[in-house]
């Protein structure tokens, strides 16, 4: 306490608390002592604060407290007795207490998990500095029948927009880079997540350098910026800046900087940035003009100057389109920009806020985002529903159980207990139950977190004490709900007159029962909807995964990056197909299952009409492709073995024939308008097959021969997977010993297309059955209480001659009425909801009567089982025992 004036004073709240709670003549001395104590502690430390607060609460002792209020309660030990009574009450109704506690624990734990998931989804890209000013440009095009919105722009537009619009502070492009295999100390490291980037990307996203200088990060050719993770992978703890990173294709990079790793909740994902100067497509001197202007492969990010209105800026964009795009439309379709627009076509750029990319991006072509605001909403509502169901149990069991406590309350009232102390007793009971539930929920959260991470494909480390403040949420929600749940029974019961309360069987009023049954109806309606939902979703996804894609996809192995084989590609292929386990092999540029295939146009020139412009996908293949994939030709012929002679031949799919409106497809001339200037002649027609997820209807497909294949596919004979794989590995090791073999199954690639839906499915299933078990728990509790209250009635009925069956049926009917009502509400509701969900699929299942009825009947059956457990017990009791229980 040498220099008291320079130190920070103790928290004000402590002073206030003591001055309010303590006798005034004692308070001043205490506050002074506490300040002096706090000032002597090490400054600014968390532990000091803790010690201070410990002392503050320790000071609140009877000698110091004011009379009245809290002080008086403490003096008369009322609080202690409240606790004693609450504990006794809870102990007396063990079953109810256990059900309540476990229901709350389950409900809260799932709510915490769902909350984590939802908040994490919502937090995407919000952490960047100036995130409000960063936008991604998107391109929307409508041309003839084709409509598309893509998160991509052309190579030149970043510079153009930056030059033309002073509102844009800077603009930068990124582009996918082919995978790079780095050579370090003669070891190979394959890196797939490298992207091309302009220097400006660094200031736009304010990446932070760990080593090196970011100002010159990507300004020179052959420069690369690594993330910390990749740098550690390649160089360990060394500072790699200035080193030369060699790639196995002979090129090399100079490492200019190492930046901090990207947070997981970022839509940008890369392990290294390489300069766009080396990207052939960004250089107008190296690619055809039309391709330079129409190949939309770049993501363009812009940072606006502060206070620029993006909507106004978008409108402003219009003024430059004609100037820049007129030459493009002329080269593309012979029309001027004016004519292009006059035909009703549009081509324009827009700004998508950075924060919306993860959840709201619903472009035709995007390629990154995995989130969906629909799922976020879906899960939020499931979370709220589950919590609601848990607390409905709580309310129901408390109100139903309170009837059994009427005598206790009445006696207390007669003895002179005040209404407020009775209310306090009930509230305290419900708070106790909910807090015990909270403690259990915390346990569940921590122990199940790894499984939840697997389920949701997330990477949470701490469920409660993270930046989302879930602990606060849990505490507030639990205590708030406990008060809500406790307040109704406490007021309802404590209000009655003791004379009425002591009269047996009068207190369970009709309204009370009505509310209870209403809540049970709600619970089961929700359960039925959720189960139907999970059933339909499962079946639809299974349908999608197993749907016939029109080609054989079960028995195909893919070998990527066959460039690595150099000149021995054909040798590789022929050696492998010679083996017993493999029947066909083909070389191609792109696979039907690759989720990203550039859409192009094709039109038919034969009749000199330009109406036949059709959006289609182009597969670059060889003459073995059809055999390898088991795709049948319906007309015409396959490519000949001399691919060069067939270099202007084309095979199209039936849907392309239909889309083009060709009567006589064989011999038709078709031109592609994506930079390839030459025309193709159709030589064959194939059956339709799907390219991607069946969310999309099948697009017309054309196959053209390639001389620069990048992948090889092999069809292996069933049951020979291991042998086929071993064979390929062995031949690869012989022919390309220095290269990494990349082997994959087409089925696995296909499965990856459904990844996000599969996750949705498993998370949804999990919470569905959780919700069901919560409502069953509740029903179990309620039926035990209700039947307990009717023990005397059953006894009398039995004495008068009712059989066990009759009694069970009577009690069951009474208890199943709310479930029946839930069926009536739940079935149509689930039909409507699922019908809406399915409408987003191009190919979908019928919901079917079974999917609707089965969950409802399942719920009913389960409810009956649970109820019968109690009713049978009660009906089989000897009336002599039941009637003497008073």
């Amino acid at each position: 306490m040498s220099k008291p004036d320079t130190r920070r004073p103790a928290p004000r709240f402590g002073d206030w608390l003591i001055s309010k709670l303590c006798k005034p003549h004692i308070a001043e001395g205490l506050i002074g002592d506490l300040h002096e104590y706090y000032e002597a502690l090490p400054q600014g430390k968390w532990s000091s604060k803790c010690r201070y607060w410990f002392q503050v609460f320790n000071v609140l002792r009877p000698f110091a407290l004011r009379n009245g209020g809290f002080g008086k309660m403490a003096e008369t030990s009322l609080v202690r007795y409240l606790f004693v009574f609450a504990m006794r009450g809870l102990w007396k109704q063990k079953l109810t207490t256990v059900l309540n506690v476990s229901g709350i624990a389950l409900g809260l734990a799932s709510c915490v998990f769902i909350g984590l998931y939802v908040l994490d989804e919502l937090s995407y890209d919000r952490h960047w500095k100036d995130a409000d000013r960063i936008f991604r440009m998107y391109n929307s095009l409508s041309y003839g029948e084709m409509e598309s919105v893509a998160a991509f722009g052309n190579a030149p537009i970043a510079d153009i927009f930056q030059k033309e619009f002073p509102q844009i502070e800077m603009a930068a492009r990124t582009n996918f880079s082919p995978p790079l295999t780095f050579v370090i100390n003669e070891k190979l490291h394959k890196e797939t997540a490298v992207i091309y980037a302009d220097q400006n990307l660094i200031p736009i996203f304010s990446f932070k350098a760990i080593h090196g200088n970011l100002e010159q990060g990507l300004t020179a050719p052959n420069t690369i910026v690594l993330t910390e993770e990749l740098s550690t992978k390649l160089y360990g703890q060394q500072n790699p800046v200035g080193k030369v990173l060699t790639v196995n294709d002979g090129t090399s990079f100079k490492i200019t900087a190492v930046i901090e790793d990207l947070p997981e909740n970022s839509h940008l994902k890369f392990s290294a940035l390489r300069t766009t100067i080396n990207d052939r497509w960004s250089d107008p001197s190296k690619v055809p003009l039309l391709a330079y202007w129409t190949l939309s492969a770049y993501r363009v990010y812009v940072k606006l100057k502060p206070d620029v209105d993006p909507v106004e800026l978008e409108r402003d964009f219009e003024r430059i389109y004609e100037h820049y795009f007129d030459p493009v439309t002329k080269a593309f379709s012979g029309q001027s920009w004016q004519e292009f627009i006059a035909e009703g076509n549009t081509y324009r750029y827009g700004l998508q806020p950075l924060k919306n990319i993860h959840l709201y991006s619903n472009f035709t072509f995007d390629g990154t985002s995995t989130g969906d605001i629909q799922y976020v909403l879906l899960f939020s509502s499931i979370g709220v529903l589950i919590l609601a169901m848990a607390f409905i149990n709580f309310i129901n069991l408390t109100t139903a159980g309170a009837v059994n406590r009427i005598k206790e309350i009445a006696i207390k009232k007669v003895v002179g207990s005040s209404k407020s102390s009775l209310i306090w007793q009930f509230l305290l009971e419900s708070l106790l139950v909910s807090w015990v539930g909270l403690v259990l929920a915390v346990g569940i959260c921590y122990s199940l977190l790894p499984y939840f991470n697997l389920l949701a494909a997330k990477n949470f480390t701490d469920p409660l004490f993270n930046h989302h403040q879930m602990w606060l949420f849990s505490l507030v929600v639990t205590s708030g709900a406990a008060l809500l749940a406790g307040i109704y029974p406490s007021i309802a019961i404590s209000r009655g007159k003791p004379s009425q309360l002591l009269k047996p069987r009068k207190a369970s009023s009709r309204g009370n029962v009505g509310l209870r049954q209403g809540l049970v109806v709600f619970q089961f309606t929700v359960s039925i909807i959720l189960i139907t939902g999970s059933l339909v979703i499962n079946r639809q996804l299974e349908y999608g995964e197993n749907q016939d894609v029109g080609y054989n996809r079960d028995r195909i192995i893919v070998v990527d990056e066959i460039d690595d084989l150099g000149p021995s590609q054909e040798a590789f292929r022929s050696r492998i197909i010679a083996s017993k386990s493999i029947s066909h092999g083909s070389m191609l540029e792109n696979l039907p299952s690759d989720s990203w295939i550039r859409a192009i146009f094709m039109h038919e020139q034969q009749n000199k009409t330009l109406d036949g412009k059709v959006r289609a996908a182009r597969l670059m293949v060889d003459q073995h492709m059809l055999a390898t994939f088991d795709i049948k030709l319906t007309e015409g012929r396959n490519f000949s073995d001399n691919l060069i002679a067939d270099s202007s031949a084309m095979i199209i799919s039936e849907s392309a024939v239909r889309a083009l409106g060709l009567d006589e497809p064989i011999g038709a001339t078709i031109r592609l308008t994506d930079g390839e200037e030459k025309a193709f002649t159709v030589i064959g027609v194939t059956e339709d097959f799907h390219l991607r997820s069946i969310h999309f209807p099948s697009i017309p497909i054309c196959l053209i021969p390639t001389t620069t294949p990048r992948k090889m596919v092999f069809q292996f004979n069933a049951n020979d997977v291991a042998a086929a794989k071993a064979e390929i590995e062995q031949v690869w090791a012989e022919l390309a010993p220095d290269q990494v073999l990349q082997l994959d199954f087409i089925n696995d690639r296909y499965k990856r297309l459904y990844q996000s839906e599969k996750q949705l499915k498993s998370v949804f299933n999990f919470f569905t059955y959780l919700a069901l078990s919560i409502s069953i728990l509740g029903l179990f509790g309620i039926s035990s209480l209700v039947i307990g209250q009717r023990t005397k009635e059953t006894g009398v009925r039995k004495v008068l001659g009712a059989s066990v069956t009759q009694l069970v049926l009577l009690l069951n009917f009474h208890l199943t009425r709310p479930i029946l009502l839930a069926l009536i509400l739940g079935i149509p509701a689930s039909y409507l909801l699922m019908d809406k969900w399915l409408s987003s699929y191009a190919y979908k299942i019928e919901i079917g009567i079974i999917a609707l009825l089965a969950p409802a009947l399942f719920c009913l059956l389960l409810a009956w089982l649970v109820i019968t457990f109690h009713t049978l017990n009660s009906a089989r009791q000897n009336p002599a025992d039941t009637l003497k229980y008073e």
């Binding site: 001043e28 002592d33 000698f63």
Partner: protein
């Protein structure tokens, strides 16, 4: 509450109050206990004890003058009363008398010899 009888902690606090003369107050007593006895008492415990001693009439408390320290708050100073002094003396005399009646004590080893 038996008047005139001191508990163990009460006696300690009272001794320290006496020792510190008129300058004694809650935190000072606590710090002295920490220093001399290596024993951690909470501020609350010390103040409660002082309140009890006051009730027994062994100390008197009064508010000191405000100073710049402690945010200008006054200290609650403690003075031992005659009754407090008597109680301490009584307790000491009683203990000394008991000590003198222990049959044989080996002063060098500090342990008792029961032979």
């Amino acid at each position: 509450m038996r008047h005139g009888v001191l508990g163990e902690f009460e006696e300690l606090v009272l001794l320290i109050i006496a020792m510190q003369g008129g300058e004694s107050y809650g935190l000072a007593v606590r710090n002295e206990i920490a220093k001399q006895l290596k024993r951690k008492a909470t501020i609350g415990a010390v103040h409660a004890t002082i309140a009890r001693l006051e009730k027994k009439g062994m100390v008197k408390t009064y508010m000191g003058d405000p100073t710049n320290a402690r945010g200008g708050r006054r200290k609650r100073l403690i003075n031992i009363t005659k009754a407090g002094h008597n109680a301490l003396a009584q307790s000491r005399d009683l203990k000394l008398s008991l000590w003198s009646q222990i049959p044989s004590l080996k002063p060098d080893s500090g342990s008792f010899n029961y032979e």
